[in-house]
Amino acid sequence: MPRWGMVIDLDKCFACQSCTAACRMENNTPVAGQDQAEMGRAILWNEVLPFVEGEYPNIVETMIPRPCMHCDNPACIKVCPVQATFKNEEGVVLVDYDRCIGCRLCTVACPYTVRYFNWYQPEWPEALKEHLNPEPEVKPRPKGVVEKCTFCTQRLRKAREEAEAAGRVFNATDYIPACVQTCTGHARYFGDLDDPNSLVSKLAHSPRAFRLFEELGTQPKVYYLKQG
């Protein structure tokens, strides 16, 4: 079974936030609106986060797109009392929206704060409901459950169905999440980390590669390549 992972080359990423928008349009995350966004409740699974260090004029500003790390030893799955969040056999951390009781222990446990909570029932004006992605996996979630980046599992399923329909063996390069496809700097790579020949695992072992909070032992599967 493939072990999906992603590499983001910060030298080619230009913080254009296309991934943030693509992720929302692909996965129907709700719009929070002005008052909710002010309270910090905007749900953007694949947010780009700005970090600034230094005094004027010597400033280092890094902007890091942060999808879910889909850790191999995730801090969130350990603490879920009902196994509403689990890791499938391909290493992707998912959430079962029908079983989640909304206790939010996983959201406080995750060191990367990638998990979002539906504080209210998501709603769209009547006209805008038309544009929602009809895939069953991304049906808008009810209020009171946690949701997060899923590496676009609906695209994986469709890629498998297409491979099956075309009668060929599904291989790891047939499927990429929406953010990888739309990255304007072609900075995102996606694939099977267990396959040594895949571009992803080669880049993951490049000297420029680093991961967020490696010391925590969560073994994240999203690698970043140093800028510059």
Binding site: K12, S18, A22, D35, P50, P57, L128
Partner: protein
């Protein structure tokens, strides 16, 4: 499972087997309970076999014009992705394109043509059918034309894509009005004029960043809002990681934008002094002899001092720069240390091919010295021989399309054409093609003639240049205003008649491939049935042409815009064009200096300057126009912006300089309407659904301001309110307000939608808009402002 004999003999209390049995019973009980639980409703059955197709079209939310693949399920557009077969974006799609569906289905769109019943701006609209609306307008136009006042009709337009520009030109010219006023005097007019005066090409410079080794952007926001953002994003990524030798990107701007942060070096500079830096670098390059001597000797003019035909002496570029743009002086003007300027110049000259990028965004070159700053920056490219070199500044080629049918002007059209333009371009501003920001002043003064009808196409003058109410005053003086807006923006609210334009996902059209260099055309086609009762402005103009009849009908003989497109693109293989969504030559052939092709890239559009294939440091075009009274006016030089030389009293009263810089989350006419763009509007200050004012650290400490405080930003023209963001990356006395917010149309969203109010503030309200004497370009910055706590 073989029973374990040992366990059966030890029957003390619970044997292991009993324990297992007990365990099994409990698990069964648990399982029973689970079974009870999971009897709830099964997963909703998959929707009826969805009728799904991918439609290829072209985006219109920024000047790039990327190719899009729109997935349509059961007649509804559900996902926008990049078209992998499109040479510009190669399958990627920026966040504006992704959220195009929130524009298509936005509740803020105007659904039917409307007529203003009450007093303008009262919002008392009556929805009328298209026939009635078009009849109303065509009667007015025919009546004016008959009365010989065709010239009193003016059209203000923003971005016109593909054939639309020439369609509108033919309409206005055949109708008999010279007043087709484009908005590019606010933004890309400077770059276009600099290229024409120095290189003799009437177009915008295109930068071959893929093959460049050193890219230096003066102002603007190359990676967020330049004219060909997506192309340059991909090219910069290729320049860095796609090739063995990594190119360097340097961003010069008073504010640390996303381009500055991602560049290899950010050079903070005093606002409005880019020209001085360019000339300072030229000084160092010439001084140290690093310039491309062969190219300068053989293919440029005006580098050395020279004598004109009737014998009087003229100063050349070299002596001007060496004389008056020494490192010390430039360092004082720009505030950049001398060694940094020297190093930048050295790097620029030695890492060839190097590019000095001209900004084309609105408000970037608007400090009163726009023309000469642009000339100075472009001259750097000539100094290092990057003109049409591989990895240098190239010229955009256009495909040959089927020729427009010829048409002749009738008497009314000829008289109209001879009249002076309402915005003064060509007369008051000899070099200008149009002077958008000068229209309100001229309308108010009533000279040269009062306007009767004003058409607004992709233009929102009330938002672009409020001028503390003078633009509104000017609009009220125009008896009849027609707007083609899709949403009730500020100017449309003061129109008499609104002919709502469809979004780019519902219309036929095309886009020239601009920003890649090689010729190409990109098709735009309806993705879904029009969501509301709206029409393509192209169809509306053709319909009007037929209603007015006469030469207009002959100039635009087509029944609708689709037919026009089919006609113009008829020499392409239509099936392939529809299948791929575009056609292009894919490869750009650089013209070697002096070769036969060199004529197409240098001097092609020169009017009264010789087409001798020489780049003009000393602009002979300007010389022919201005005569020989002063050399300086023909050479790139630096004029200190007015606001920097203000009297100390004014400087004390308004200590800060307002800097504008467009950001990537700001889409053309749909600002403030698209919720997802509002939700990731300010990345670097992490601001959502709001405006913010960026202040330098020292200034914030002096005023004891912290992140999030609400403050007033006040200039002579007006005042707006915003939340403070203390930014390390900001020129000490500069502040920044994001453009694109403060619209009166905003999407009512979220729980407290009904009492939603204006999101953020409009920075244009703070600037006074005047015009540069020679070039007609807008002067609106850097505005002097002061900050006070709310």
């Amino acid at each position: 499972m073989a029973t374990n004999p040992k366990s059966s003999t030890t029957n003390t209390g619970l044997s292991r087997r009993d324990f297992l049995k007990l365990g099994a019973v409990t698990v069964a009980a648990g399982a029973g309970l689970t079974a009870l639980k999971s009897v709830d409703a099964p997963q909703s059955p998959q929707a009826a076999a969805a009728e799904e197709r991918i439609v290829k079209t072209t985006c219109a939310l920024c000047p790039s014009g990327c190719g899009l693949d729109v997935r349509v399920v059961n007649g509804k557009a559900v996902k926008v992705e990049g078209n992998p077969l499109h040479p510009l974006n190669q399958g990627v799609c920026c966040l504006k394109g992704q959220t195009a569906l929130e524009m298509l289905y936005s509740p803020e769109r105007i659904q039917h043509p409307r007529l203003q019943m009450g007093e303008r701006g009262s919002g008392d609209w009556k929805e009328i059918p298209w026939d009635e609306a078009l009849g109303l307008l065509s009667d007015k136009l025919t009546e004016l034309r008959k009365a010989g006042k065709a010239h009193t009709v003016a059209l203000l337009h923003g971005e016109l894509r593909g054939q639309m520009r020439q369609t509108v030109q033919r309409f206005m010219r055949a109708y008999g009005s010279p007043n087709m006023i484009s908005r590019d005097s606010l933004g890309e007019g400077a770059a276009r004029m600099a290229l024409w005066l120095s290189q003799g090409i009437n177009g915008l410079p295109v930068y071959d960043i893929n093959n460049a080794n050193y890219v230096m952007t003066f102002g603007g926001n190359l990676l967020e809002s330049s004219r060909n953002v997506i192309g340059y994003l991909g090219a910069t990524a290729f320049m860095r990681r796609g090739r063995p030798q990594r190119g360097k990107l340097v961003a010069v701007h008073p504010r640390l934008s996303a381009t500055g942060a991602k560049a290899d070096e950010w050079i903070p500079i005093r606002p409005g002094t880019y020209g001085a830096l360019a000339l300072g670098m030229a000084n160092v390059i010439i001084n140290s002899g690093l310039y491309d001597a062969d190219f300068v000797r053989d293919f440029t003019f005006g580098f050395d001092d020279f004598e004109d035909a009737d014998g009087n002496k003229h100063q050349g570029f070299q002596s001007l720069v060496l004389e008056s743009y020494t490192l010390e002086r430039v360092s004082n003007i720009t505030g950049i240390a001398t060694e940094i300027i020297a190093r930048l110049a050295g790097e620029f000259a030695t890492n060839r091919p190097a590019i000095a990028v001209l900004p084309t965004e609105a408000g970037e070159l608007s400090s009163g010295n726009a023309l000469y700053t642009a000339l100075a920056i472009h001259a750097l490219n000539a100094l290092v021989g990057s003109i049409d070199a591989l990895g240098g500044v190239i010229v955009q080629r256009f495909p040959e399309l089927k020729d427009w049918p010829t048409y002749s002007l009738d008497a009314a059209a000829r008289t109209g054409e001879s009249k002076e333009r309402i915005d003064g371009a060509g007369m008051q501003f000899p070099l200008a093609l149009s002077a958008y920001q000068n229209v309100p002043e001229r309308v108010l003064s009533g000279k040269p003639y009062p306007l009767e009808v004003l058409l607004l196409l992709n233009a929102n003058p009330l938002y672009d240049m409020p001028n503390d109410g003078r633009t509104l005053e000017a609009l009220t003086k125009v008896p009849f205003i027609v707007s083609f807006a899709s949403t009730l923006d500020e100017s449309a609210a003061h129109a008499d008649l609104i002919l709502p334009a469809s979004t780019f996902l519902e219309i036929w059209g095309d886009d020239y491939l601009e920003g890649t260099g090689y010729a190409g055309i990109s098709l735009r086609r309806p993705v879904v049935e029009p969501v509301h009762d709206t029409r393509n402005p192209g169809d509306v103009l053709l319909d009007l042409a037929h209603r007015v009849g006469g030469p207009l009908a002959k100039a635009l003989p087509w029944k609708d815009y689709q037919e026009l497109i089919n006609y113009r693109l008829s020499n392409f293989d239509w099936e392939k064009l529809e299948a791929n969504g575009n056609w292009s030559e894919m490869i750009y052939f650089n013209a070697a200096p002096g070769s036969q092709a060199w004529k197409d890239v240098l001097g092609r559009d020169r009017l009264n300057a010789p087409q001798d294939g020489r780049f003009d440091f000393f602009s002979r075009e300007l010389f022919a126009l201005l005569g020989s009274d002063s050399d300086l006016a023909c050479l790139p030089h630096f004029e200190v912006p007015a606001t920097l030389t203000d009297s100390t009293a004014e400087a004390l009263d308004y200590p800060f300089l307002l800097v504008t810089q467009p950001i990537i989350t700001q889409s053309a006419q749909w600002q403030g309407i698209i919720p997802t763009l509002q939700e990731c509007y300010g990345l670097q200050g992490y601001v959502k659904w709001d405006s913010w004012v960026e202040i330098g650290q020292k200034a914030a400490e002096a005023l004891e301001l912290h992140n999030g405080d609400r403050v007033w930003i006040e200039s002579k023209m007006g005042r707006v309110q915003a939340a403070v963001r203390v930014r390390a990356g900001m020129w000490p006395n500069a502040i920044f307000l994001p453009p694109g917010q403060g619209h009166h149309t905003f999407v009512r969203w979220g729980r407290h939608a009904d009492d939603a109010s204006v999101v953020g503030a409009n920075p244009n309200a703070l600037s006074g808009f005047s015009t540069e004497p020679l070039s007609g370009l807008a002067v609106c910055g850097p505005t002097r402002v002061r900050i006070s706590r709310v």
